[in-house]
C-alpha cells in the first residue's frame, strides 16, 4: 500500500515536472507575439524563422537566386522549362518524387519566376514540418527529369505558361527589368518556340546544378515552429552544395532609366493593361519609404495627383491605379498598373508625364504628404493581417533590435525619418523631377493588348513604342 502511494507520488511529481518543462519550452511562444530566429546552416542556406504561434499552419518561402543581369533568351527558356518540369502539376505524368512529396505536404504551393529569383512558396500543416526538410533536400537535388515530360512541356509551353498566374505582370516586370539593366535581348518576341525547341535536358540539369543549391538560396518560415527542431531537421537533410563554385554575378552597372514604351501584342478581348515602372531605392535604403510616399502622392487613390487631374479635367472615367513593389537585390521597381479603354491610353500616359513634370514646380505638399503617410501606415497595418504579406519587411523590422526580439509593430515610429523635405528630395533624386525639363524622360511603360489597337491610339507617342509579340 505504502509502496503504491510512494509510486503514485513519484509519478505525480514527474508529471508535474514534465508539465513544467513543457510549459517552459513553450512559454515564450504562447505570448502571441512574433519572434525572429535567424541562422545559416552548415551547408550555407540562410534560414529565417518567424515564430508566430497564433498561426495554425506553416508558410514557407524558398527563394533561389538567378543572375538576371546575365540572362539571355536561351537562359530564360532553360529557367522556364526547368521550373515547369519540376513544379507544374499538369505535367505530373509519370509522377516524380518531388510531385509526390508536394502532394503529401498538402499541394498548396506556387512558384513565381522573377528576373533575379525563383520563389517557391507553400503552406502546410505543422505535422508536416519534419517531411519539409526532406522536401527541401529533394528540391536541391532534383534529378527526376523525364524525356517524355520534357518534350510535352515544350509542346504545351504556352498553354501551361498562361495558366493560373498573372502572366501579364510577370512578363511586364521582365521586360522592364531588361530595359533597366541594359540587357534587352528581345527582338520582336518574348520567347520563340524555336528557342524552346533547341533546349535539351542536359542544359536543364546543368542549370539546376549551378543555381538550385543551398548556398544560393534563402528560406523563410513563418508559423507555429520550434526553430531548434527545424534547424536540426534541415541540418540533417540538406545536401552539401556541389563542389562547383557558385557563379560570380555580373557586376552592378548603372541603370538605364530612360523612357521606353514596349507594346506586347496579345490576342484577347480584354481591355489593354498599362504597367508603368519606375526605379526606386532598394528596400533597405533610407530613401525607400520617402519614395513610396512620393509615389502615392502621384499615383494614389483617391488623393493622388493623377486621379485628381483625371477627375478635374474630366479626361477619362476616373481610373484607379494599383501599385505593387518588386524587390531586387540592388533596387526596387515600383509598378503602377491599371486597365483602361484603348481610347484613353495616350491621354493617360501624357497625363502621367505632365504630373511628373509638375513635381519640379510644385513639389509634394504638406497635405499630400500627410495623406500619403497616413495611407502608407494604414495600408501596411491592414495588409499585415495576411499571413504572407511582405515577410522581408517583417524581418527587416527586427533589424537594429537584434535577433530573437519581438517585432516592432507597424506604426508612426517607423516613419520618423520620413520628413516632407526628405520626400521632396528623394522624388527629385529618384524620379528626376528637376531634370524633367531636360531631354531624358524616365519610366519604362509596358502596354499589353492588341498591338494594332494600341498603336492606332498612340498618336503622339507612336514613335517611342517598341512592338513585340508573345512568341
Amino acid at each position: 500500500m505504502s509502496m503504491a502511494i510512494k509510486e503514485s507520488a513519484l509519478y505525480r511529481g514527474r508529471r508535474l515536472l514534465g508539465a513544467a518543462l513543457v510549459f517552459l519550452a513553450f512559454a515564450p511562444s504562447l505570448s502571441g507575439e512574433t519572434r525572429l530566429f535567424s541562422f545559416t546552416t552548415s551547408k550555407g542556406l540562410p534560414v529565417k524563422v518567424l515564430q508566430d504561434n497564433e498561426m495554425p499552419f506553416i508558410h514557407a518561402e524558398l527563394q533561389v537566386y538567378l543572375d538576371g543581369r546575365a540572362q539571355n533568351a536561351n537562359s530564360l527558356a532553360i529557367t522556364q522549362l526547368a521550373v515547369m518540369n519540376m513544379f507544374e502539376r499538369s505535367l505530373n505524368s509519370p509522377s516524380s518524387n518531388l510531385a509526390d512529396m508536394l502532394l503529401r505536404q498538402g499541394n498548396d504551393y506556387q512558384v513565381e519566376l522573377g528576373p533575379e529569383s525563383v520563389k517557391i512558396s507553400m503552406n502546410f500543416l505543422p505535422d508536416r514540418l519534419g517531411p519539409f526538410s526532406k522536401l527541401l533536400n529533394e528540391i536541391f537535388t532534383y534529378k527526376s527529369f523525364h524525356l517524355k515530360k520534357f518534350n510535352e512541356s515544350k509542346e504545351r509551353f504556352w498553354s501551361l505558361f498562361l495558366k493560373n498566374r498573372d502572366w501579364r505582370k510577370e512578363i511586364a516586370v521582365l521586360l522592364a527589368y531588361q530595359q533597366l539593366i541594359g540587357n534587352f535581348y528581345f527582338s520582336q518576341s518574348f520567347l520563340l518556340q524555336e528557342t524552346l525547341n533547341k533546349i535539351n535536358l542536359a542544359q536543364l540539369r546543368s542549370f539546376l546544378l549551378r543555381t538550385f543549391r543551398p548556398d544560393n538560396a534563402q528560406l523563410i518560415l513563418k508559423g507555429r515552429i520550434n526553430p531548434y527542431f527545424i534547424l536540426g531537421m534541415i541540418e540533417k537533410d540538406l545536401p552539401q552544395p556541389p563542389s562547383l563554385p557558385l557563379q560570380a554575378r555580373k557586376p552592378e552597372a548603372a541603370l538605364n532609366t530612360g523612357r521606353r514604351i514596349v507594346v506586347l501584342n496579345v490576342d484577347s478581348p480584354d481591355l489593354p493593361s498599362v504597367y508603368w515602372f519606375d526605379v526606386a531605392p532598394a528596400a533597405d535604403s533610407a530613401a525607400f519609404i520617402p519614395y513610396a510616399i512620393g509615389n502615392f502622392a502621384l499615383f494614389g487613390f483617391p488623393g493622388g495627383r493623377i486621379y485628381q487631374s483625371e477627375k478635374n479635367q474630366a479626361l477619362m472615367g476616373g481610373y484607379k491605379v494599383n501599385t505593387d513593389v518588386v524587390f531586387f537585390k540592388d533596387f526596387t521597381l515600383f509598378c503602377n498598373y491599371l486597365r483602361l479603354n484603348y481610347g484613353d491610353l495616350e491621354n493617360f500616359l501624357l497625363l502621367v508625364d505632365q504630373e511628373r513634370r509638375k513635381f519640379s514646380v510644385r513639389p509634394v505638399e504638406r497635405k499630400e504628404y500627410l495623406d500619403a503617410l497616413n495611407y502608407y501606415i494604414g495600408h501596411a497595418q491592414v495588409e499585415s493581417s495576411r499571413f504572407d504579406y511582405d515577410l522581408r519587411g517583417e524581418i527587416s523590422r527586427f533589424q537594429g533590435q537584434g535577433a530573437s526580439l519581438l517585432a516592432s509593430r507597424i506604426g508612426p515610429e517607423l516613419f520618423q525619418d520620413v520628413s516632407l523635405s526628405r520626400v521632396v528630395q528623394t522624388m527629385d533624386e529618384q524620379m528626376g523631377a528637376k531634370s524633367r525639363t531636360g531631354p531624358k524622360e524616365k519610366g519604362i511603360v509596358v502596354l499589353i493588348g492588341s498591338a494594332d489597337a494600341i498603336v492606332k491610339n498612340l498618336k503622339l507617342l507612336k514613335t517611342e513604342a517598341l512592338e513585340m509579340s508573345l512568341d
Binding site: 513543457v22 513553450f26 512574433t34 504561434n53 495554425p56 502539376r89 498538402g106 500543416l125 491592414v382 493581417s385
Partner: protein, 436 residues
C-alpha cells in the same frame, strides 16, 4: 506510462492557441435588438467590421426580383450625412478596404481597416443602417447600370449564358432558380416606390448581425458600438429562418444548343450538390476539391495529362444554404475531343462511386481543405463571414473546432458515399453548345 502522458502533454500544448482562438468568439445584444459578435485576435494590427444581413435575394417578392441586388449598389450611395462612395473614400484614405455583396441567403458588407480606426467603420456602418439615399435619380442610375452590364455580359459571353441556364435547371423550384438580378428585362421597370418600401425589410435590425474581428479593445469597442448604434430604431423581430436541405435531382436533363459561327464547342455540367446546412456538404466539398481545385485538379489530370484531350476546364460552386450547384465547363474547338472528355468524365464519376479513393489521396485533399479553413480563420473579413453564416444557419457562434474535427475525420468511405449520391447521371444537368 509517464512517457505516454508526457507525449500527450506535448501534443496538447501546441493546440492551446488554436482552441483559444476559436473559443474567444462572444456576443451581446443591444437594447434595440442588434446582435453584436466579437472575434478578437491579438496578433493583428487590423480589424474587420462586418454587417451581416440575414436577408438576401431569396426574400425578394416574386414580382420584385432583383430588388436586393440593387441594394448592393445603393448601399454605397450615401445618405443625408454621406456622399456617394464616401465609404470607399474614407476607408481607402486610411489604407483599408471596403466591400459588399448580396447573395440569395444573405448580404454582407464589410470594412477592413487599421485597428485604431475602428470607430470610423462603426460610424460609417451605422449611417448606412439609419438611412440610405433612395432618390429616383440614384435608383434609376443603378437600374440602368445593372441592365447595361448584364446585357453586355449576356450578349458577349456565351459561357455566362450557358451557366445561367444550367443553374436555373439545377435549382428548379428552389429560391435559387432565378438570377440574383431577377428578370433582366424587368430591371428597368422595377418600381422605385417598391424599392423604397422594401428597404425596411432589408435593413431590419432584428435580422442583422454586427460582427467585428481582429484587434480591438473590448471596452472601447463597446463604447463605440453604443455611441453609434444604440439610437437606431429596433426592427420587427421575424421568425428565425428555417433552412431545409434539398434532395438531389431525380432525373437528368440534357439539352443541345447550336450557335452559328461558334469557334469553341463546350459542354456545361451542372451537378446538384448538398446544402451548406447539410451534413453531407463537407463530403461533397471534398469531391469538389478533388475534382476541380487547381492545386489538385483530378479532372485536368485525367482529361489533359492522361488522355491528352487538351480541353479547357472551368468550374464554379455556388455555396448556398439550402442546395448547391457545381458547374464544370469543358470546351475545345473540336467536337470529338469534347465527346471523349464527356466519356472520360462519366467514367471518372463512376469510378469515384464504385471504389474508395486511396489513403494518400484522401490525406492530401484533407490537408488542403484544412489549410484553406485555417487560412480563412486568419483573415478577419473571411472570419466574420463564416461566423455570420454559421450563426445564421445553426444559431451557434463557435463552429471552428466542430468543422475542423469533422474535416479531419473524413474517410474514403464518406467520399465514396457522397460520389454515389451526387455524381449520378440523374443528378446532372448537361448543356452542349455546338457550332453549326
Amino acid at each position: 506510462m509517464i512517457k505516454a502522458r508526457l507525449l500527450c502533454w506535448l501534443l496538447l500544448v501546441p493546440l492551446i492557441p488554436l482552441s483559444a482562438q476559436s473559443l474567444t468568439v462572444s456576443s451581446f445584444d443591444l437594447p434595440n435588438g442588434l446582435k453584436v459578435i466579437l472575434a478578437p485576435s491579438g496578433n493583428s494590427q487590423a480589424a474587420a467590421v462586418c454587417v451581416y444581413h440575414m436577408h438576401g435575394a431569396r426574400s425578394d417578392p416574386a414580382d420584385g426580383r432583383g430588388i436586393a441586388y440593387l441594394y448592393q449598389y445603393l448601399m454605397f450611395d450615401g445618405n443625408e450625412n454621406l456622399e456617394p462612395y464616401d465609404h470607399v473614400l474614407f476607408i481607402g484614405k486610411m489604407g483599408g478596404v471596403v466591400s459588399g455583396r448580396v447573395s440569395y441567403d444573405n448580404s454582407v458588407f464589410y470594412e477592413m481597416l487599421p485597428a485604431q480606426e475602428i470607430n470610423v467603420a462603426l460610424w460609417l456602418e451605422s449611417e448606412r443602417l439609419k438611412s440610405l439615399r433612395l432618390r429616383d435619380a440614384n435608383i434609376d442610375f443603378h437600374k440602368n447600370q445593372i441592365f447595361n452590364r448584364i446585357s453586355r455580359l449576356w450578349e458577349a459571353n456565351l459561357g455566362f449564358k450557358a451557366q445561367t441556364w444550367v443553374s436555373s435547371k439545377v435549382f428548379e423550384g428552389l429560391p435559387y432558380e432565378f438570377p440574383l438580378y431577377g428578370d433582366l428585362n424587368r430591371i428597368p421597370s422595377l418600381g422605385n416606390e417598391r424599392i423604397r418600401e422594401n428597404y425596411p425589410n432589408f435593413q431590419n435590425l432584428a435580422n442583422i448581425l454586427l460582427i467585428i474581428a481582429g484587434k480591438f479593445d473590448i471596452s472601447e469597442l463597446r463604447n463605440g458600438i453604443n455611441k453609434f448604434f444604440q439610437d437606431i430604431p429596433p426592427g420587427r423581430r421575424s421568425a428565425s429562418p428555417v433552412f431545409n436541405a434539398q434532395n438531389q435531382r431525380k432525373s437528368p436533363v440534357l439539352k443541345n444548343w447550336v450557335v452559328p459561327g461558334l469557334k469553341k464547342s463546350m459542354a456545361v455540367f451542372g451537378i446538384k450538390a448538398p446544402a451548406k446546412i447539410s451534413y453531407n456538404y463537407m463530403y461533397f466539398d471534398f469531391l469538389r476539391y478533388y475534382l476541380t481545385d487547381a492545386r489538385i485538379s483530378r479532372l485536368n489530370h485525367i482529361l489533359n495529362t492522361v488522355n491528352k484531350l487538351d480541353v479547357e476546364i472551368e468550374s464554379s460552386f455556388t455555396d448556398y444554404m439550402e442546395a448547391n450547384c457545381l458547374i464544370i465547363q469543358i470546351s475545345h474547338p473540336k467536337r470529338i475531343n469534347l465527346e471523349k472528355a464527356r466519356f472520360v468524365l462519366a467514367s471518372e464519376f463512376q469510378a469515384l462511386a464504385s471504389k474508395p479513393l486511396g489513403n494518400s489521396e484522401v490525406r492530401a485533399v484533407r490537408s488542403l481543405m484544412e489549410i484553406d479553413l485555417l487560412k480563412g480563420m486568419l483573415s478577419p473579413e473571411e472570419r466574420c463571414q463564416r461566423i455570420g453564416e454559421y450563426f445564421h444557419m445553426f444559431g451557434e457562434l463557435n463552429f471552428f473546432d466542430v468543422q475542423l474535427r469533422r474535416l479531419r475525420r473524413i474517410t474514403s468511405y464518406d467520399v465514396q458515399e457522397s460520389a454515389k449520391k451526387y455524381l449520378l447521371k440523374e443528378n446532372q444537368v448537361v448543356l452542349n453548345v455546338y457550332g453549326n
